[in-house]
């Protein structure tokens, strides 16, 4: 609205705000008639917006459909990736870990150096370092450079902890409890 106001509209506002004699219709008339050639009145603005042609409407509708289909395809691809990753993760777990994952969305593993870790479902800050009694002593964050599904991240974390734990600990950011 600011682009359509002039110094006359400031006067209009003052009139509106300051006097009891300024009625809405008066102010409105003042507002619209106060506009100069350099600003377009609201009425002229409405007339200035051209209704879209059939061709424009068809183009817009086609673009909207393409956008919608692309988004649906992306959602489907993400879901398929998630399912594949889950299948791979489940193939790596023993029966106890599988049960734990289904019940608690996490599982515990014994690492290369005989330490215990809990991997929770997720991508970041999802690895807990445990003491001998199973109590969390730190949370670690290391994940694949690529944005892979969470279950894939958990596979990569598991493989690294069970095969080259020191490398994992060197790479991971650590948050003590």
């Amino acid at each position: 609205m600011a682009s359509f106001t002039t110094s006359s509209s400031a006067t209009t506002w003052v009139t509106w705000a300051s006097t009891a004699t300024a009625s809405t219709s008066n102010v409105w008339v003042q507002w619209t008639t106060a506009c100069t050639d350099t600003a377009v009145s609201i009425g002229n603005l409405a007339r200035a917006i051209q209704p879209e042609t059939d061709e424009q409407r068809q183009t817009r509708e086609r673009q909207e459909t393409e956008t919608r289909l692309r988004r649906e395809s992306e959602i489907l691809e993400r879901e398929e990736a998630k399912q594949k990753a889950e299948t791979l993760l489940l193939s790596m777990l023993d029966p106890e870990q599988t049960k734990e994952l289904q019940e608690k969305n996490s599982f515990v593993l014994v690492s290369e150096l005989a330490n215990r870790y809990r991997i929770r479902r997720g991508r970041s800050m999802n690895v807990d370092q445990l003491d001998t009694e199973g109590k969390k002593i730190a949370t670690l964050c290391a994940h694949p450079r690529e944005a892979v599904p969470d279950a894939d991240t958990m596979v990569a974390q598991m493989l690294m902890l069970t095969n080259h734990e020191q490398d994992f600990l060197r790479v991971a950011n650590r948050q003590r409890v």
């Binding site: 398929e80 694949p144 892979v148 599904p149 095969n163």
Partner: protein, 74 residues
Amino acid sequence: MSEMRIIDTTGDTKIIWDSGNKDETDAARETFNRLTKKGHKAYMVKKDGEKGRVITDFDPDAEKIILAPQMVGG
């Protein structure tokens, strides 16, 4: 048949090869070498889900190889 699972944004890409087929084996080896040079870590696992061990050289007789992208701190 042997298989290699490459962890990526699609979940994983699966490559299978018959160790008796030279073309298939060479193609799998080429992929293995390309990705490990890029920083991927390779683990050889049994198909029944044994935990696996790190490998640095392609093994054409491996049951299953998993290639995981380089890990970074989060």
